[in-house]
Symmetry: D2
C-alpha cells in the first residue's frame, strides 16, 4: 500500500529518484496484440524532456526509454511491460547545502518526518523527475486508446499568471514551447518567463485536458467514478492544487436551469458537465482543468528549519523550471490516458458478457 501505483486493471507501478541510477515502471494489464515500440513512447518523453527550450530547466536528460519485456516481435504479449530510463545529468553536489535543511513548499520536511530518512538529492522520490515514467506508461495508453478506440487525449496551457488563453487552436500547441493554443499570447509568455528568470522567481499555471471521441459508458457508479479517478490522477501530479471537470468552480453560482445539458435527437445542446454524468462518460468531450502552483525552487532566500528544528535561511540551487506548468502538459495527458485506459478495461470486464441492448462501446 505504499502507493507507487495507479490503475486497477491497466496498472502502472513506478520506481526511481531524481538522482538515482535510473527510473522505471511496470505496466501490467496491457491487452495483447498492440503494435508497440520504444519510438512510440519517445514522442511524449521528448515533449516532456528537460532542457528542451530556454523556458524550462537546463538539466539535460535525453530520457531514452528502453522496453525490457512484454513485447515480442513488435507486439504486446499481454504480459507485464518493463520500461526504464537512465538518469545521466544528475548534479548531486548542488544539493549538499540542503542536506540538513528543508526547502519550504517542497516535500523535504514531510518526507523526513514520515520516513525518518530522506534522499535529499534533487528531492529524491518526491521530484517531478519521477513523472518521466508516467509519461512513458501513459504513452502506451495513448497509443491503445487512439489506435483501437479512436480516443484522443490532448492538453495545453490555458493560463500562466495573469495571461489567459483567449483563442483556442489545437494546431498551435506543438508549434511553441509553451504548449499554448493561442498564438497571440506567446510574446507575453516569453516576457513573463524572462522576467521570472531575472528575478529568480516562479509562477503558477492552469492547464486544460480534453479527451475526445470517448465512448459513452466509461466509469463506475459510486466511488471509482470517472471524474473521481481523473481528479485523483491529476491532483497526484506534483504541484497541482486544484482540479475541475467541465464548468468546475463556475457551477457555484449557476442555476440548475442553466447548468443541465439538454439532450435532443441531434445530441447534447451544451457541455457544462465536461463529458461526465453520474461518474460515467456521456460521449461528449471530457474536459478537465488543473491548477499548478509556482515551484518553490527559486533563487530568493527564505526562512526554513533544519533537521534540528532551528530556523535557518535557505536558497535553492540547481536548475529549475520558472513555470512547472509547461512541462506538465504531457504529464496531464498521460495521467488522463491511464485513467481512461483503466476504465475501458474495467468496463469490458463487467459488461461484455451479457447480451444487452446495443450501445456505443
Amino acid at each position: 500500500m505504499a502507493g507507487n501505483a495507479i490503475g486497477q486493471i491497466f496498472r502502472v507501478t513506478t520506481f526511481g529518484e531524481s538522482h538515482g541510477l535510473s527510473l522505471g515502471c511496470i505496466v501490467d494489464g496491457c491487452p495483447p496484440g498492440l503494435d508497440l515500440s520504444e519510438a512510440d513512447l519517445q514522442i511524449d518523453l521528448n515533449r516532456r524532456r528537460p532542457g528542451r527550450s530556454k523556458y524550462t530547466t537546463q538539466r539535460h536528460e535525453s530520457d531514452v526509454v528502453k522496453l525490457l519485456s512484454g513485447v515480442f516481435e513488435g507486439k504486446t504479449t499481454g504480459t507485464s511491460i518493463g520500461l526504464i530510463v537512465e538518469n545521466t545529468d544528475q548534479r548531486s553536489q548542488d544539493y549538499l547545502k540542503i542536506k540538513d535543511r528543508f526547502r519550504p513548499g517542497h516535500a523535504d520536511y514531510t518526507y523526513y518526518q514520515k520516513y525518518g530518512i530522506r534522499d535529499y538529492r534533487g528531492g529524491g522520490r518526491s521530484s517531478a523527475r519521477e513523472t518521466v515514467m508516467r509519461v512513458a506508461a501513459g504513452g502506451i495508453a495513448k497509443k491503445y486508446l487512439k489506435q483501437e478506440i479512436g480516443i484522443e487525449v490532448r492538453a495545453c496551457l490555458s493560463q500562466m499568471g495573469d495571461i489567459s488563453v483567449e483563442n483556442f487552436d489545437w494546431d498551435q500547441i506543438e508549434q511553441n514551447p509553451f504548449f499554448c493554443p493561442d498564438v497571440t499570447k506567446l510574446d507575453a509568455l516569453d516576457a513573463l518567463i524572462r522576467s521570472l528568470k531575472r528575478n529568480g522567481d516562479s509562477i503558477g499555471a492552469k492547464l486544460t485536458v480534453v479527451a475526445s471521441n470517448v465512448p459513452v459508458g466509461l466509469g463506475e457508479p459510486v466511488f471509482d467514478r470517472l471524474d473521481a479517478d481523473i481528479a485523483y490522477a491529476l491532483m497526484g501530479i506534483n504541484a497541482v492544487k486544484g482540479v475541475e471537470l467541465g464548468d468546475g468552480f463556475g457551477v457555484v453560482n449557476q442555476y440548475g436551469s442553466q447548468h443541465r445539458d439538454e439532450l435532443t435527437q441531434q445530441g447534447f445542446k451544451s457541455n457544462h458537465s465536461g463529458g461526465i454524468l453520474g461518474g460515467i462518460s456521456s460521449g461528449q468531450d471530457i474536459i478537465a482543468h488543473l491548477a499548478l502552483k509556482p515551484t518553490s525552487s527559486i533563487k530568493i532566500p527564505c526562512d526554513t528549519i533544519n533537521v534540528d528544528g532551528e530556523t535557518v535561511k535557505v536558497v535553492t540551487q540547481g536548475r529549475h523550471d520558472p513555470c512547472v506548468g509547461i512541462r506538465a502538459v504531457p504529464i496531464a495527458e498521460a495521467m488522463v490516458a491511464i485513467v481512461l485506459m483503466d476504465h475501458l478495461l474495467r468496463h469490458r470486464a463487467q459488461n461484455s458478457g451479457v447480451s444487452i441492448t446495443p450501445r456505443r462501446i
Copy 2:
C-alpha cells in the same frame, strides 16, 4: 472492479438504491477495541437526513442505522462491520413518467448506455441517497480519528450562488440549517432558497472541509498522495465538479515567493498549501474546497431524449433539494475522514517496524 468501494486498508463497500429495500455497507479494517454504538453513527446521519428543514428535500427518512456485526460488548472486534439503513419513504410512482426518458444532468442516460438496464426509481444506484452509507461509515472513521489521534474533520458551506461567507465561526455551523459559519448571511440564504422554490430552480454551492490536528506524515509519495486521495473522495460525491487543496486555483497567478509556506522554529508562517506537501500531511490544517453543481431535478421543463432516441420534454417530479450543497456538508466530512483513516492505517503498516528518529506520529 465495479468500484463500489473506497479505501485500501480501511475499506468501505456500499450497496443500495434510492428506492430499494435498504442501503448498507461493510467497513473492513477498523482496528479492534474502539468503543462504537449505533448512536455514534446516528449523529451525522441526522445532520445529513432528508426532511430535516424546510430548505431541503421533503422526503422523510428516519435513516436509523443498524450495526449488524463487528462490534462485541460495545467494542469493535477488528472484523468486518456490517451496517444497514432501511428505506421507508420511497414514492416510486413519482418516477413512472421518466421510465423511458433521460433526465438531463443526471446519470439516467449514461447508466442506461453503460448497463443496458436502469433502475429509474429515484435514480437507482446513482442517487445521492447512496451517500447515507458513506456518512455512516465515515462516522466510524471520525470517531476513531478524534478519540485515538485527536484529529477533527469539519465542513461548512462557504458559498451558495453569489452569497459568500465572510465571517468564519465554526460555532455557528450547527446552529443553522445551512451549515453556514457566517451568521450575517443567513437571511440572504433563506431568501435565495425561497426564491428558488418559487421558481422551481436550483443553485450551486461551494463547501470547505478542514481537518485539524492531523499529524505530519500521512500520505504516500507518488500516486496515492493524500491530496490525490482527497480529490478522488470529494470529486466522487454526487454533483461535485471541482476540488481544491489550500489556495487551489488561486495559485495560477501566484509567484513562488508568495506561495511557499516558510518555516521557522515556531512553525509555518502561512498555509497556502492546505496542509499537504509532496502529497504528505505537513501537520498544518488540511483545507479543501469543493464545488457542487445545481441539481438538474427542477420543475422547469426541458428537452431530452427517450430510450428510442427521440426528442421529448421532461419535468422532474419528486421531492428535491434546491441546493444539494447543504446536505453535502456531512458527506464531505465523511469522505475526508475515510481518506485520513485509511492513510493513518497505511502509514502504520509501513512505518512502525523500524526504529527511526522520533517523529510526530
Copy 3:
C-alpha cells in the same frame, strides 16, 4: 486489508458472526442483465444448511437469503448486490463456559492474541457459519457461469476417514446426505458417523471439486494463476489443510514421461494436470481436491489454557458436525465458482479489445 473479501473484479465481501444478528455480503462486479432471484441462491443454501440431516449439526437455521439491491425487475443491474441472512437459532449460553478459555484446534487463542478481544459465542467471526454468505455469493457466480458460458462446478465427498470413494457417479450426489458419489459406501459412512456420535469424536474428509466445460485461457500468468487462486480459495475454507490440482501430491514420484498430458488433434490424451497448464485453464475439466481436518469441537475433554495462561480442562458444548467435510461440499463449489467468475471477467478485461486469432473463449 482486513481481508474479508475475495476476488478482484467479481468481488465478494462478507460480514457477520456465528451468534450475531445476521450475516451478509456485498457482491460487486456482477455483469448486468443476469436473471437473478432469491430462489436461485436458496438452492445451495439449502444444501449447506445446518440441521438438514441427522449426520450434521442440529442447529436449525432456515438460512433464508434476502436480496437487498443490485437487481431490478428480476435482472442484475451491474451495481453492487447486497445479500443478508438472519441468524435465528443461536444458543449463546452454550458458550459461556468457554468465555475465558481457548478451545484447542479452534481460532479462539489466535483471535484473542491478534485482536485483544474475542466474540466467544460460537467462535464469532471465525465460525464456519460465515460460509453461508460464501455459498450465497457463489450461487450468483454459479448461475452466471452455467447460463452464460456453460461452465458447471460440482463437488462431492471423496473420502471420509478410511472410507474412499471407488465408484464415481455424479447422479448419486444429491441422493444422499453425504454428497457421496458412490452408493456402495453409504452404509459404511452411516456407521462411521454413528460411531463418532457415540464416542463424541469427529473425523476428517477429502472432497473433490470438478469444473467442467471451462474454456481455455482463464488465469493470469505469474502470481494470480488460476491454480494459485483456487488454492487460496479452498485453503481459505474453515478446517482445510491441503489442496491439490490434478494428480496433486501424486506427482512426487511420477516421471515427466508419465505426467505430461500429450495432445493430439482429438484432444488431450490424459488429464494429470487437472485442467490447468502454466496457471491457465487448458479447456479440460478442472479437478481439485481438498483435505478437511476433523473438527476440534468434540465431547472428549482436553487440556487448554485460559486467558490468564493457566492450564485448564475444556469440553466443547454446543451442536456440532461430526464431519465438517460433508457440509463443505457446497462451500467448495461456491469458492471455485467465485474464482472462475473472477478470472472470466479478468480475462475479458484484458483481452477483448484487440482483434487476435480466433480462440475458444
Copy 4:
C-alpha cells in the same frame, strides 16, 4: 488485474521473459530504515542460480542483481525498490523448432490460446526463469523478517521420486546440491538424477518450508487467511500441484481427538495444525509442504499439436533440470517470506492503534 503482482502492502510486481533483455521487479511497501545491499539479495539468487551443480540445468546465468532505487546510503527509504537482473545466456535458437508446436505439460498451448500471441523462446513469461525476481524480492522480506522480528524462513527437499527424507538436519541443507536435510539419502539422489539424465526423463519432488519464530496473530480471519495466502503463493510456483499446511492430507483419516493440538501453560503439546489456527499464526512453527511435478521438458519424444491443430511429434531441446524441485527450494522460501512480510505489515496497519491487552506481537 493481469496478476503479475503479489502482496497487498508489501507488494512485489515482476516483469521479464526467459529470453528477454532482462528481468526486473518493483518492491513497494518496504518499511524505511532497513539496511539493504545487493549482496544481501545475491545470497539466495546464488542458491537458485542455474548451472550451479551438475544436477541442475546447464544454462549459465550469473544472476547479478542491481538495486536501482529505494535505498539511500545503505538504507531503505520507504519508497519503491527497483531491482533488475540481466539475461546473458539465452540460446533462443534452441526454441525455433517449437515455434509452431506446443510442448505438452507446458504453458505453450494455454498462452497461445489466451493471448493469441506467444513468445516461444524458452517459454517466454511462463518460464521458471521469472522466479529469479521472486527470489530477489523475497530476499528483502527475509532480511527484514529475520533482522527486525527474528523470523527465519527455511526450506528443503523432503522427497524426490520414492526417496523420502528420514533424518532431518537443517545444518545439512546448504552442504549438498539437493538442499537435502538427510545425509544418508545423498547417494540415492545422485543415482536417481544420473539415471534420469541417461534416460532423458525427469522426476517430481516434495519440499517442506518451515517458518520459525513467527509471532502469534498474523493472518486475516476470513479470506486472506495466512494459510490461504501461503497456499496461493506456493501453488503459484511453476510446476507445483499440491500444498499442505501441517498434517495436510493426513488429516483425512484423523480423529478430532488426535488432531487438535492441546495447550498447556508450557505451550502446545503438538503441531498438527502447522502453526496456523483459524487462518492466524499460533506462534508455533509454520510448516508447509508442496509437491512439484516432473518437468515436461525431457528428451523423450511425444505427441502434440501445432498451431494449425495437427498432430505432430515434439522433443524438447534446450537445457533443463531433471528435477525442478531442487532449485525451487529458495523460491519456496521467498514466497513464504513475502506472504509473512505482507501479513506482518497488514497486522500493524489494523492493530497498532488501540491500546489493548499485551500480546506477543
